[in-house]
C-alpha cells in the first residue's frame, strides 16, 4: 500500500492533478457564465405580443403559430418537438416541419412522424390596454 502511494505521489502526478483542478474550475466558471446568459436570453424572448384583430386562418409569428377559427383561438409553439426546427408552412391543411417532414393538424395534433408528440399548446392572455394577445413561450397548457 505504501509502495503504491509512493508510486502515485510523484511530482508529475501532483502537477497533473493541480492542472485538472485548475481546468475544472475554469470550466465551471465558464459554464456558470453561459448558464446565466442562457436564462437572461430565455427571459428576454419569453413573451410574444400579437395583434388581436387576426383574420381566420393559420398565422406564423416566429416562435408562435396561431390558428383562428371564428372565436376559437389555438396558440401553438412553432418548435417541432422532434428536433426543434421552426415550423413555418401550412400546406394541404397540415403544418409541416421543413427539416424532417413531421406533419401536424392546424390544432397541433400529430398526423405523421418522425415526431412522436403533438405541438405544444402555449399559455396566453389578452392585454386589453395594448389590444394584443400576450403569449408565454415557456409556459405550456396541458
Amino acid at each position: 500500500m505504501t509502495n503504491l502511494i509512493n508510486k502515485l505521489l510523484t511530482r508529475k502526478n501532483l502537477l497533473k492533478l493541480m492542472m485538472i483542478i485548475m481546468l475544472s474550475s475554469v470550466l465551471k466558471m465558464f459554464m456558470d457564465l453561459l448558464t446565466a446568459a442562457n436564462s437572461r436570453e430565455d427571459e428576454k424572448n419569453r413573451h410574444v405580443k400579437i395583434p388581436l384583430n387576426l383574420p381566420d386562418g393559420v398565422h406564423f409569428f416566429d416562435q408562435v403559430i396561431i390558428t383562428k377559427k371564428g372565436k376559437t383561438l389555438t396558440v401553438l409553439s412553432s418548435i417541432c418537438p422532434h428536433l426543434g426546427c421552426r415550423i413555418r408552412s401550412f400546406q394541404d391543411d397540415r403544418l409541416v416541419c421543413p427539416c424532417h417532414g413531421s406533419q401536424y393538424s392546424a390544432e397541433g395534433k400529430l398526423i405523421k412522424g418522425p415526431s412522436r408528440n403533438d405541438l405544444t399548446i402555449l399559455a396566453y392572455y389578452f392585454d386589453e390596454k395594448e389590444g394584443k394577445i400576450v403569449v408565454d413561450t415557456k409556459k405550456s397548457v396541458i
Partner: protein, 305 residues
C-alpha cells in the same frame, strides 16, 4: 554511395516515390494545407463579419465588399476541401494499415478531433445566421439535448445561450480550431503545411472563389437542407422518431474508430469493413436526401423539381 547501391531497384523506387510525393502530396498534407488556408481566410473575414448581425453583415459583404466576399469564398472552399481530404486521409490510412503505428494517446486525440471537425464545419454553416443556419442551430441543439446526462450542459457549452451566436463564434474561430491545429501538428509533426500542397489547395480555392463564389444561401433551389455532409444525417433523422438512436450510433462509430488500432488484426479488418459499409450507407442516405427531397422534406423526383 556505390553505383550498384544507387542503381538498386529499391533505391530507385524510393527516390521516385519521394519525387512523386513532392508533386503529388498525400491527402494528409492536402488536408493540413486546406485547414491552414481556411484559418487564414477565416481570420481575414472576422473583420467585416458581425456576430450580432450575422446574416446582415454577410449580405453587406456580398453586396458591397468584393475583397471580403472573395476571402469568404476562399474560406468556404478551403473548408470543404479540408473535410473531403480528412475523409480521404482516414480511408488511405486504414487501407495502408498505418493506424497501428500511432500511440494510444495520439489516436484518442485524433478520434476526439473528428467531432471537433464536424463542429467547426457545422458552426461555420450556423454562423451565416440566415434561415438555413438558424435551422441547423436548432437541429444541432436538439441532437445535443438527446445525449443522456450531459446533453444540456454540452449544448450550453458548445452553442451558448439561445439564438445568440457569440459562443459558437468563439469556438469556431478559436477553441475548436486551436484544438484541431494541435492534433494536426502532433500527427504530421509540422506546425506549418508544406509549400506544394499549399500551392495546390490555394490555387484551386482561388479559382473556385473567382468562378463559383460561395452564396449566402443554397436553400432557394434545394428546400430546407443542411450542408452536403449533413444531408445524410438529416435523412436518417427523418426515418427515426428517436434522435437518441442517431446520437448513439455516432458514439458507437467513434468508439469503433478509437479501438481499431488496438484490436487483433483479424478483428481490425472486420471493423474496417463495417466502417466502410457505414460510410457507403451514409453516402446512400446523403444521395437520397440531396436528390429526392424537396420543400418540407417531401419526396420528389429530381426531374420534376
Amino acid at each position: 554511395m556505390s553505383i550498384r547501391k544507387s542503381l538498386s531497384s529499391e533505391n530507385i523506387l524510393n527516390k521516385s516515390f519521394r519525387r512523386w510525393n513532392r508533386v503529388a502530396p498525400t491527402f494528409g498534407h492536402l488536408d493540413f494545407s486546406a485547414f491552414f488556408i481556411a484559418v487564414v481566410s477565416g481570420i481575414i473575414i472576422t473583420v467585416p463579419y458581425d456576430v450580432n448581425n450575422p446574416s446582415g453583415s454577410i449580405q453587406e459583404i456580398l453586396l458591397t465588399d468584393e475583397s471580403a466576399s472573395f476571402f469568404r469564398s476562399i474560406h468556404y472552399w478551403s473548408a470543404q476541401f479540408f473535410l473531403i481530404f480528412v475523409l480521404l486521409h482516414i480511408i488511405e490510412y486504414f487501407l495502408i494499415g498505418r493506424e497501428e503505428k500511432i500511440t494510444a494517446g495520439s489516436w484518442l486525440r485524433i478520434t476526439l478531433s473528428l467531432p471537433a471537425i464536424i463542429y467547426v464545419m457545422l458552426s461555420g454553416y450556423i454562423l451565416k445566421g440566415d434561415a438555413e443556419g438558424t435551422m441547423a442551430l436548432r437541429i444541432f441543439a436538439g441532437l445535443l439535448e438527446n445525449i443522456p446526462f450531459i446533453g444540456s450542459q454540452l449544448g450550453t457549452f458548445l452553442l451558448g445561450p439561445g439564438s445568440n451566436m457569440q459562443v459558437i463564434y468563439i469556438h469556431h474561430a478559436a477553441t475548436a480550431t486551436i484544438f484541431i491545429w494541435i492534433v494536426i501538428a502532433e500527427h504530421v509533426r509540422l506546425f506549418w503545411p508544406r509549400l506544394i500542397p499549399l500551392a495546390y489547395i490555394f490555387s484551386t480555392s482561388v479559382l473556385l472563389a473567382v468562378f463559383v463564389p460561395a452564396p449566402l444561401t443554397w436553400s432557394s433551389y434545394q428546400g430546407d437542407k443542411g450542408p452536403w455532409y449533413f444531408v445524410g444525417f438529416q435523412e436518417i433523422l427523418h426515418w427515426i422518431s428517436r434522435p437518441g438512436i442517431a446520437i448513439t450510433a455516432f458514439f458507437i462509430f467513434l468508439s469503433i474508430f478509437f479501438i481499431i488500432p488496438r484490436v487483433e488484426k483479424k478483428w481490425r479488418s472486420r471493423l474496417k469493413i463495417a466502417m466502410l459499409f457505414l460510410l457507403i450507407s451514409y453516402g446512400a442516405f446523403s444521395a437520397a436526401g440531396w436528390f429526392f427531397r424537396g420543400e418540407n422534406w417531401l419526396f420528389i423526383l429530381p426531374w420534376s423539381r
